[in-house]
Every structure is written in C-alpha cells, then in structure tokens.
C-alpha cells in the first residue's frame, strides 16, 4: 500500500506541477513555490495560448485529433482484420507473414522515420497530411494482439454456424467476430491512439507547414524560440496542459473496455 502511494505520488507530481505552472503569471514561474498556487492566471493564460499566432493551437489540437483519432481507428480496423485472418484461416505462408509482422513490433518508429521520408520524397508527398497519416495506420502490435485474442475468443463452431446460415465471410467478420473481439480492438485503439499522439519524430521530419503540425511538434517549436518571445515559456506550459486533456478523455471513456481487454486474454 505504501509503495502504491509513493508511486502514485511520483506519477502525479509532474502533472500537478504542470497544472500549477499553467495557472501562474510569467513572473511567478521561477520565484514562487512550484507546487502551489500564487496569483491565479489560468484564464488569461488560456486566452493567450489559444490566440497566439493567429490561433494556431486549436488547429494543432485538431490535427492531433485527426492523426491520432482517425489514424488509430483505421489502424484498429486493419489490425483486427489482419489478426482475425491469421487466426481463423489456414493458408500457405501464414506463419511467415505473422513472423514478419512480429518483427515489425521490434523496429522502433524512430528508425523508420528517415526511410519513410525518403520514400515519400520520391513521390512528392512530404509535407502533406498523408505523410504523417499513412504511416500511422500500421500497427504490428495490433495485429499480434488481434490474432491472439481472436484465436481464443472467437469459437470455430460459431463461424461454422454462421456459414451454415448463409453469411459470407465478410459479413461473418463484421457482424459476429468483431463483437467478440471488441475488448481487444479497444485496447489496440488506445495503444495506437497514444502512440500516434506522442509520435514526435515522424512529423518533425515530414512536415514544414505549421498548419499541418500535431500539437506536440507545435509546442516543441514554440519551446525552441522562448528566447526571442519570452511569453512563449508560459504558453508552452499551458499548451501542454491543454494537450493532455484529449488523452485523459479517451482513457476515461474507454477504460471499461480496456481493463477487460487486458484481462480476458490471460485468464481462460
């Protein structure tokens, strides 16, 4: 219990600090207690951060939501279909494909960013929405999880029954199997959402148009020029606070599924 308490404190302190810092005036940042309030300035800071640079921050947030929200959705569908196929259909080369996908889990996204940049440059697609979106819809870990889960939670008998009733394979997948796989799919979605939201290196390499930036890259940019525009120091902090809100929302909304998703595969 004590250990738990210590770790909770350890994980929550930075967030608490961020929240406190975002409520302060710039002058109070270094001079007042970093873990407690001084003059409350949160509303002014929020107004400032949302209007700075012609209101570019809302645009960044929207971009992040698009990249991460839609990207994770497509990734989940693809990974679900792929994992299901690997689990339920016997075909030549199945294990080879699965092993290649597994190999993909081991390759860090950072290592792929530069080759991806060179490929996209060849087709003239760098600095576009697609250059960040397309690489994000691939989730090898999702395929792995979907396969394991489909193998254990979708009974072959049920598929047989569906086929006898005259349902095609596609229909069987979407109306029967997907429902059984929901916990795994939600888990894949969450993982992929967080991975895309936090993927910083790929946008850094691909994008040069400020209007396409996700919020992480945008805030990083601001942070590199605090010397020239001092008020940015506070805007970066306030912006960071704003940028973790969608993550918290997604986690809270999907928590129910997520927990059962992690547990179900292990106890059978």
């Amino acid at each position: 219990m004590l250990v738990l308490g210590v770790f909770t404190l350890y994980f929550l302190t930075p967030i608490w600090w961020l929240f406190i810092a975002a409520t302060k005036e710039r002058g109070d940042l270094t001079t007042t207690n970093p873990l407690w309030f001084s003059d409350l300035n949160l509303v002014e800071n929020l107004q400032g951060v949302f209007s700075y640079g012609d209101g570019i921050l809302p645009r960044w947030l929207l971009n992040s939501v698009l990249y991460a929200g839609v990207g994770a959705l497509v990734a989940t569908v693809l990974a679900g279909m792929c994992g299901y196929a690997l689990a339920k259909y016997a075909f030549p080369g199945r294990e080879v494909i699965f092993n290649v996908v597994l190999g993909g889990v081991l390759v860090p996204a950072t290592a792929l960013a530069l080759p991806l940049f060179l490929i996209f440059a060849q087709v003239g697609a760098t600095n576009t929405f697609w250059s960040v979106f397309l690489p994000s819809i691939v989730s090898p870990f999702g395929v792995y999880l979907a396969r394991i889960y489909a193998a254990s939670s979708v009974p072959d008998e049920l598929l047989e029954a569906a086929r006898l009733d005259g349902a095609g394979e596609v229909r069987t997948f979407f109306s029967v199997s997907v429902r059984l796989m929901v916990p795994a799919l939600v888990t894949v979605y969450l993982f992929q959402f967080v991975a895309i939201w936090n993927n910083f290196f790929l946008p850094l390499i691909m994008l040069r148009d400020e209007r396409l930036f996700p919020v992480t890259l945008g805030l990083y940019n601001w942070n590199t020029v605090v010397n020239q525009v001092p008020e940015l120091r506070l805007y970066v902090l306030t912006g960071s606070l704003v940028s973790i809100v969608p993550l918290i929302v997604v986690f809270l909304l999907l928590q129910r599924f997520w927990r059962s998703g992690l547990g179900t595969g292990s106890v059978k």
Binding site: G53, G103, Q122, R208, E210, T224, V229
Partner: protein, 447 residues
C-alpha cells in the same frame, strides 16, 4: 519453417532501406538545376510567375513575408517553419538535400554555414544582381562569414547578429561599493569582492559552448581557418588557451557558478541576485527579462571587459538567409533574401516580431533600437551593442563540424567544472577529436 522474428525484423528494415535507395532516378526539375553547378554567373531572372519556399524558425516571420508578397505579385514566397536549427531543422535540411527537395531558401546560423558548404548544399549567389554591392551595408565581420573564404562567392545573406556586452546588477554593485569592471583583470578582482558579498559574479556555461567561443572571438582568436580546400584547427591556439586558463582559475577558486544554462535553476540565480553579471549577446536582454522578472530596473549594460586597452567585443549567435542547392530561381531567391535583410520595412517587422538584431549598420540605427528600455532602468542599451558590433574582430571562422566540436568541448568543460582536468586540457582533447572528425569526413586538415 522456423525463422526467428528479429531476423525478419531486420529483413523488413533492409527492404525499406532498399526501396528508399532505389528511387535514385531524379525526375525533371532538380536534375536540371544541379547541372548548373552553382556557378556564380548563372543568375538570370526567371520568366513568368515564380513561387519560392522559405524555411525559417523566426517567430512571426509570416507577417514579414506577407509584406513582400503584397509588393511582389510575380514572386510569391511561401513560409515553412519548424524548430530552430540545432533542435532538428539542420538535420532535416540535410535529409531534404539528400532527397532532392529542400526549400529554395532557409535560415542557417553562422556557425552552421561551413557545414552546409562542405556538404555542397548551398548555391553561390555572388553573381546575382545586387548581392556583391550590398556588402558595405553589413557589419564588417558578417560578410567574411558568408563568403566562407572564397573571394567571389556569397553563400548567404546575413540576417541578425549577437554582439556581446556585459549585463550587470547596478544596484548590487553600488550597494557593495564595488567598481563595475572594464577589463578582465578588474573582473577577476571584482569576482572576489562579489563572493565576499555571498554572490557569484557570473555563471560560466559548460554546456553552451557558444558563449566561450564568443569570449575567444573577442580575444582575437579563431578556432578554424580555411584556405581553399584545406582547413586548420586552432581550438588550442594561444588566445583560446588564454581565455580557458582565465576562466579555469575563476572556477577553481569558486568565484563563478557553473549551473547548466537555460534552466529554471539558472533563471533563479539571476532572479534572486546570486549572479551579478552576465557577459552575453544582445538577445540576452530578453533572456534576463523573461528569466529574472523580479529584477526589473536593476540591470544595466556596459561594454564587455577587455584584455588590454583596446576595445573589442565577441559575438554570440546570429543567422543568415541562405539559398539552397537545387533552387530553380536563384535570382528571385537572392532578391528576396536581400529585401528581407536590408530593407527598412523588413527590419522593422523583424524587430517587432522577434527582437532580431539586424546585421546591417543601418538596421541597427532604427528607432526601435535607439529607445530606452524600461527593464534596464531606461538605459538605451542597444547603443552599447551597436558600438560592440563595430569592434567584433573579423578573423573568426567557424568549422564544418561544429556540432561535434560543441559536444566534445562541452564534455571536457563539464568534467573540468567537476574537478577532472582543466578547461585547457578539454580544448587540447577537442583539438585532437576535431582533427580526426574532419579527416574521417575526407576534409583535408593542414597545419
């Protein structure tokens, strides 16, 4: 049929890399532009409407470029942006050059220019209309930095500079009855008195080596030399070692602090009166304002301490607008770069947007830079910097491997600050590693 997955992982990476490497056949535009080979004479205006891309991390640069776009409907400039050079942009520039899609123009700091030149990433715009004639408008030392040792070539247009001076706490000096030092000898003596008053005269940065480079620059040293293709390395030159020994003494005697710069801890030292002076560049005025807001009205600016009777200042920072290799419109790109860095309207907009301190002598006389600054007790601080800018030695040369140099010197300095070795030893080690870094890149090193 059992293949281990790490192997397959490696195989898929290899596949991707091969795919990337395969597309070598350049199509159309870039191929043609490369054929021009950066010859200075090829700088003819293009026909019809031209659109240029310009990468800069200056905050608010879009507004400045808008002015140009309104006045030049035939030459439209599109702004691209990202983090500052060393935070990822330079690496991106190199990636883009490799992939054949760099922007037409880009912001490059003085210390990074030689690296881009050595990698053949820049277009020589010396033959473009008006470029050579603009030389006299710029502060002396900046011009030799964009020529990179080639008399007829110009690889970039200087944008802003960072002449150095000494920020000091007037109130603390007066209160303690200590004279504001004007030479380094007096500075060391003052450091002892300040220490008796429970302060440090300044913070010596062991990780941001640019400040130290500025100090060596002031002393008349130069870390690099360049004759044709051959580079000389002088990290352990006489002036460099002299400056290193001086600061090493102050560190040994605990007369200066060695906090990591740009951290909250560091801000705090200035805000709370632990640190009494800061020998820094013109943009440091903003750093103090943002980092030490409680000290409003207490700071003043004086010329930096000198080694002898002769006035001289160092320089810390500053950047240029460069034209990348592969641009189809060198003429228009050069005209835009000139307008951005010499016209009064652009200067005013740049000062307004980002407090850039212009590299032209005329730009430094603008009204925005001759007013008193309330934070500095109403002192007209920019006059001090303008005078400093005129006394910056012109011989300083940056090398083509500055990132490595900064890392190596910084490692040695940090060790010295914690009691392992001295600053001079760190320079000697960096001299060795820099020479071998150049040689390993196939860059000839002379004596």
């Amino acid at each position: 049929m059992k293949i281990t997955s790490p192997l397959l992982g490696a195989a898929s990476v290899a596949l991707l890399l091969t795919l990337a490497a395969c597309g070598g056949g350049d199509s159309g535009s870039e191929g043609a532009a490369e054929g021009d080979g950066g010859a200075a004479t090829d700088c003819e205006p293009s026909d019809g409407e031209v659109s240029l891309t310009f990468f800069s991390w200056v905050p608010g640069i879009e507004g400045v470029v808008d002015i140009w776009n309104e006045q030049n409907p035939d030459v439209q400039v599109e702004v691209q942006t990202g983090p500052n050079g060393n935070s990822g942009t330079y690496q991106n520039f190199f990636n883009q050059l490799e992939a054949g899609n760099p922007p037409d123009l880009g912001q490059i700091e003085f210390d990074a220019l030689p690296n881009f030149r050595v990698q053949d990433g820049l277009t020589d715009i010396g033959g473009c209309e008006g470029v050579m004639d603009s030389q006299e408008q710029f502060v002396d030392w900046t011009w030799s930095q964009v020529q990179l040792g080639e008399e007829d070539a110009v690889y970039a247009i200087p944008q802003d500079t960072g002449p150095m001076a000494m920020f000091y706490r007037e109130d603390l000096f007066t209160e303690a009855g200590i004279e504001v030092p004007t030479t380094w000898e007096e500075y060391a003596a003052a450091a002892e008195q300040v220490r008796e008053n429970d302060g440090y005269i300044t913070n010596f940065s062991t990780s941001d080596i640019n400040q130290f480079a500025g100090l060596v620059w002031q002393a008349g040293g130069s870390w690099f030399g360049n004759e044709g293709d051959t580079w000389q390395v002088g990290l352990d030159s006489e002036e460099s070692v002299q400056v290193a020994d001086y600061w090493n003494g102050l560190i040994q005697d605990d007369l200066v602090s060695t906090l990591p710069p740009w951290t909250t801890e560091w801000d705090n030292a200035y805000n709370s009166g632990d640190a009494w002076t800061w020998v820094s560049a013109v943009w440091g005025a903003n750093s103090i304002m943002s980092g030490a807001p409680d000290t409003e009205g207490d700071w003043r600016v004086a010329p930096m301490p000198t080694w002898g009777d002769e006035q001289a200042a160092g320089n810390w920072g500053g950047s240029t607008t460069a034209v990348f290799k592969g641009t189809e419109h060198p003429h228009e790109a050069a005209q835009f770069a000139l307008w951005l860095n010499t016209s009064e309207e652009a200067h005013e907009a740049l000062i307004e947007a980002a407090n850039l301190y212009p590299a032209t002598t005329e730009g430094q006389q603008l009204p925005a830079l001759s007013e008193g600054v309330p934070f500095y007790g109403g002192q007209e601080i920019y006059e001090v910097f303008t005078e400093a800018g005129a006394t910056v030695p012109t011989d300083w040369t940056w090398g083509p491997t500055m990132t490595q140099v900064y890392n190596d010197v910084s490692d040695g300095f940090s060790a010295a600050a914690s009691g392992n070795g001295s600053l001079a030893e760190a320079l000697a080690a960096a001299q060795e590693s820099t020479t071998s870094a150049l040689e390993s890149q196939g860059i000839p090193v002379g004596e």
